[in-house]
């Protein structure tokens, strides 16, 4: 076609590009060409659109006239160039032919029925003219690029729309037969869907992207909250108690543990399994006594309803308390292992140890809370200690697996 060169290349990057009617290459008033430049489309498409619309009660002509009036002429220096009369003749011929066709078939008698389309179309055009240039650019870029990428799809879509439209006009003439009308409507909708599919897909993708971004932001907010609520808080506390090294290290430890759990441990219900419960008890005793307790767990098992494991956990807590309070050990090691139906917990310190036989009978800590409690529930407790060599409490319990 003759106007290929004018396709889609807007001159310059004017921040707010208004629609103009150029003198160069105009056929009538330059409206179609101006509109084409504005829409980054081929002017031929626009011209055909006007011609087609004119067949329907002359809507195209009205639209053309309106646009001619509201659009300023592009300044042009020197003699106004000649119009390409041959092209104008060709478009006129198409228009006349269509008009004749419409008149013969009675399609243009659609009358008032076609009015909404015309009003809608003109509304859309005005909206387009008023739209924010940035947004307009992105619309056009999306549309033109997808048209370029999918020539076949676009052609198919356009063909379907044309067939549908012609069929619609045809069916309008024979109002009695509503069925073909519906059929052609379906065809039109189908064609539009084919054309719009890539655009809709793009829109969907953009939505997904936005959703992901939002999730990421929420995660970031959670991290920020964590850092703010606990880490910053602890740092402030540490500065306040800077004179007390024991308290400082206790605060640092507890904050470290909290952060570690948050980073590396799956969210566990501390009242559901042995490993989680041991970790929680160790954390609580560490906080209460300011002695680091290292916990290592191998395997895991759900707490039994009979309460055997709950009793065992209480005994292990007592062992940790004893180690923290009396051993003077710098740290305590806790190891919990679940092997099949057997649960074993070791609590070891490197403190001063004691003479087991010399423990008076009324010292409830070891005899009652640890040994007695384990035996009452069918388990066993063994204590290895000697003066100066630290203490290790070993608890074993057999449970039936649910």
């Amino acid at each position: 076609m003759a106007d290929q060169k004018t396709l889609a290349e807007p001159t310059g990057d004017a921040p707010y590009r208004r629609m103009m009617r150029p003198m160069e290459g105009r056929l009538l008033g330059g409206v179609a060409q101006g509109l084409a430049t504005q829409l980054s489309l081929d002017p031929v498409v626009i011209r055909l659109m006007f011609v087609l619309l004119s067949v329907v009660d002359g809507v195209g002509m009205v639209a053309y006239a309106v646009l001619w009036m509201i659009t300023p002429r592009q300044p042009h220096e020197g003699q106004p160039p000649q119009r390409d009369w041959s092209q104008l003749a060709a478009f006129s011929a198409i228009g006349v032919a269509l008009f004749a066709f419409g008149w013969l078939t009675g399609a243009s008698q659609g009358g008032i029925g076609m009015l909404p389309f015309a009003v809608g179309g003109i509304g859309a055009l005005i909206l387009w003219q008023q739209a924010d240039p940035e947004r307009r650019k992105s619309w056009v870029r999306g549309a033109t690029s997808s048209i370029r990428k999918n020539r076949v799809r676009t052609l198919l879509g356009v063909a379907l729309v044309v067939v549908g439209a012609v069929g619609f006009l045809y069916a309008q003439g024979e109002l009695a037969q509503a069925r073909p009308g519906l059929l052609f409507t379906v065809v039109v909708v189908g064609g539009l869907a084919v054309i719009a599919a890539p655009w809709l897909a793009g829109l969907w993708k953009e939505l997904q992207l936005e959703r992901r971004e939002r999730i990421r932001q929420e995660e970031r907010a959670e991290v920020a909250a964590m850092v703010h609520d606990s880490v910053l808080h602890t740092l402030t506390l540490i500065q306040r108690v800077a004179h007390d090294p024991r308290e400082v290290s206790r605060l640092a430890r507890s904050q470290e543990r909290e952060l570690r759990n948050w980073l590396y441990q799956p969210a566990q219900d501390a009242d559901a399994t042995v490993a989680a419960a041991v970790r929680r008890i160790a954390a609580e005793e560490e906080d209460a006594h300011g002695v680091p307790i290292e916990v290592v767990c191998v395997g895991d098992i759900a707490l039994d309803p009979a309460g055997k494991l709950a009793a065992m956990l209480k005994a292990s807590r007592q062992a940790m308390v004893n180690a923290a309070k009396y051993s003077e050990s710098p740290s305590i090691s806790v190891y919990a292992e679940v092997e099949g139906e057997e649960v074993t917990i070791f609590v070891k310190d490197r403190g001063k140890g004691f003479d087991l036989d010399a423990v008076p009978l009324d010292r409830m800590g070891i005899r009652e809370s640890i040994i007695g409690r384990m035996e009452r529930h069918g388990g066993a407790a063994r204590i290895r200690t000697s003066v100066g060599d630290g203490t290790e409490v070993m608890l074993t319990m057999k449970v039936e697996k649910a």
Partner: protein, 210 residues
Amino acid sequence: MTRVLIVDDHRLFRSGVRAELGDSIEVVGEAEDVETAVQAIAAHQPDVVLLDVHMPGGGGQEVLRRVLGSGSQVRFLALSVSDAAEDVIGVIRGGARGYVTKNISGKELTDAIRRVAEGDAVFSPRLAGFVLDAFASSEAPSIDPELDSLTQREREVLRLIARGYAYKEIAKELFISVKTVETHVSSVLRKLQLSNRHELSRWATARRLV
């Protein structure tokens, strides 16, 4: 005198470690990311590299891959704040001869460096726990029985490490020499590095997600 290179992206931590290490250890250099680490190792040829797990440019595993991949015999001791099983198992399988966490005391760290320099392995209680856990869940039949399972003795040694026993205490407990304890640990390390049990890696990743 053991010559050590410290690789860590936190300057504060590097100087802290430097200050803590005993007189028997000479720090020959520092590096703060994968690129400078690879260069410094080639330039200084240290006995032991203290390697941070998380670093810009691919982390400790990338350093291991590039240095050990080029045929170097340098020994690595991984030093990290991370408790994640995938990190621990990852660097060990990448070729590190031990894994200790950053809250280790200066004396223990000096000990661990000496042990690694002598060609032994260093297992923290947590690493021992991870290994026991990983080798315990053996539902799939093993491909290589020698590599894919631990011996009774190795299991005992690991369990004692997990309970907080020092090598000397383990030796006393099991009536064996410290050297034998070290041999068992090294053998576990070899299995951990060479075993093809795909569960091992899968286990490490699953630990994080369960």
